[in-house]
């Protein structure tokens, strides 16, 4: 229970009166506000903060200042050593049995990305004695021709303008954005390694496994592997490298080796909430940035939340999501930023709202959208 919160509490009754605007520091010292910034607020808490944000224009300003300061106060995360190797060291020291912990071992890091992918499914083979209830999952995937027992996997793919929600039996939720595909094991029980191959973009809310490790949830793209430490994040891969943005918890990114295989240590970094990393296969230096989450992690909602989002970012997103070509005749528009919320229903609704916000005109000619005529 914080005193600070009371200072800027707003009730319907006294909204007209001039209640004090909180100092940035007192706002930043408030635990509930901190949870909101860290993307860890519960849904009720989130709604209340959004209401606060929209109550007065001054709140928007102080919020922006607080967010900027929070981002600057962050520390750069260290590059993690090989945790599994460290665990094996401890296990040997304490003389713990090896067999029982074998399921915890992540995939070996020295193989090339494509060989690794084949192995991912081979590994799951040993665990394929799935509960009979889950057997129906099997029927729509064909057995593979590679030798050895391989479990079935399934692929969900979306067209332009479509989105898919995937609820996994362990109550993990994945929202696959338009023009994307995701491949994952079709059978599922408590110890199935949770491994995914992604092309396009997806939002992940990973359920924690009380009995198992958190790090067994892995998303593969052609540029590398994302090992999940925590819970909410987005992966985006559309042919120009992979982008990962973390909303809550954390992920460990392991970059796939480039053409020069076997040089030095694997490139690995830990990403924390509000960090964004763009990387490509073979990268040897990783530079995470601190960003406003905004659109990065909320594109799937019914309402788009914009926080100083550059129009250019929205343009790219419209092209990726709806398969249209967006022309911006007035180039100055691209640098403009937008804040606020917007209905995320369909292409026409969005383009009209954008044109209105930017005080410009928009026309649609088939698959081409033209702004700034």
């Amino acid at each position: 229970m914080s005193k600070v919160a009371d200072e800027f509490k707003i009730s319907q009754k006294d909204r007209e009166m001039a209640e004090p605007i909180p100092e940035v520091e007192s706002l930043l010292s408030d635990e509930s506000f901190q949870r909101w910034l860290a993307g860890a607020a519960g849904s009720e808490e989130l709604q209340q903060w959004l209401a606060w944000l929209n109550a007065r224009p001054e709140h928007q300003i102080i919020y922006q200042q607080a967010l900027a300061l929070w981002g600057k106060a962050a520390f750069r995360p260290a590059t993690l050593p090989d945790v599994e190797q460290e665990w094996q060291r401890l296990r040997a020291r304490l003389a713990l049995p090896a067999a029982k912990t074998a399921a915890l071992r992540p995939l070996a890091g020295r193989r090339t990305a494509s060989a690794k992918r084949r192995l991912v499914w081979a590994r799951a083979g040993g665990l394929a004695i799935a509960a009979s209830l889950l057997l129906f999952w099997l029927w729509h995937s064909l057995p593979l021709s590679t030798p050895g027992p391989e479990p079935a996997h399934q692929v969900v793919a979306t067209e332009f303008g479509q989105r898919a929600r995937i609820n996994l039996p362990d109550s993990t939720t994945i929202i696959l954005n338009a023009h994307s595909s995701l491949r994952y094991p079709a059978t599922w029980h408590a110890t199935t390694p949770r491994e995914f191959e992604l092309q396009g973009e997806a939002y992940f809310e990973v359920a924690s496994r009380p009995d198992g490790p958190q790090h067994d949830f892995i998303v593969h793209t052609k540029d590398g592997d994302i090992h999940v430490v925590g819970t909410r994040f987005v992966v985006h891969e559309r042919g120009r490298g992979t982008r990962v943005v973390v909303a809550e918890g954390g992920v460990r990114v392991a970059v796939a080796e480039g053409a020069a295989v076997g040089q030095g240590k694997p490139v690995v970094t830990l990403l924390r909430p509000q960090q964004l990393l763009e990387f490509q296969k073979g990268d040897s230096v990783l530079r995470p940035q601190v960003v406003n989450l905004g659109l990065y992690t909320t594109w799937w909602r019914e309402e788009l939340l914009l926080e100083d989002t550059p129009f250019e970012h929205l343009v790219r997103r419209l092209e990726e999501t709806y398969g249209v070509k967006v022309e911006v005749r007035d180039e100055r528009l691209l640098q403009r930023t937008l804040s606020g919320s917007m209905e995320n229903r369909n292409l026409d609704v969005i383009t009209k709202a954008l044109a209105k916000a930017l005080r410009t005109r928009v026309v649609r000619q088939g698959q081409v959208i033209i702004f700034g005529i």
Binding site: S2, A5, F8, K9, I10, S11, Q12, E25, L28, S29, E31, S32, F33, Q34, R35, W36, A40, A41, G42, S43, E44, E45, Q48, W49, A51, A55, L69, G71, K72, A73, A74, F75, R76, P77, A78, L80, P81, V83, E86, W87, R89, L90, R91, R93, L96, P97, K100, T101, L104, S208, P210, P213, H215, E248, G249, G250, L270, R272, P273, V290
Partner: protein, 198 residues
Amino acid sequence: MLPHRRHDHEGRAELRQDDQALWQRMRTGDDQALAALFHRHYPLLYDYGLKLIRQAELVKDGIQEVFAYLWEKRATLSPADSTRAYLLVTLRRHLLKALARQQQRQESDQRHLLAEPAESFSPEDFVIMQESDEQERRALQQALQAIPPRLREALYLKTYDGLPYREIAAIMNVTPQVARNYVSEAFQRLRALLFPRR
């Protein structure tokens, strides 16, 4: 209208329950629970340890010691309110002792005992240092150095994973109110530094 305080909001509360269940199982001799706790908390422990003493090998060994201690003493350990805070504070004590031993060997000076070194939570590790150019960096470095290490540590624990004040308090051996003052003052100083009022 303003968010009412719920400490046990969804995700985090769930995580803590997981931790408590694992802790319980670990105490009864379940090595898989130990493995799960090790993997789950390793990233924060390593990152924190490295920022505290800046010697990777010492930190890696320290984490080994913490978990070995945990396992050997499991029968007599009490239930932990926050496993994360317990692990961090145990690592912290261990690392500062190890560092003091190292320094004693070098200069046989006992005054350093259990004090964190001035270079803990170094300005170099702030994200802003990466974003600035050479000239700005030198000025920033000096200014950030003027923020006491304890404030920088509280700021780190807060911004890394949004640790609640009561956990920061347990780790830094102060009251939650003091932990809150640390964080608040660190933000104040940082703001004065970065956004000076005209």
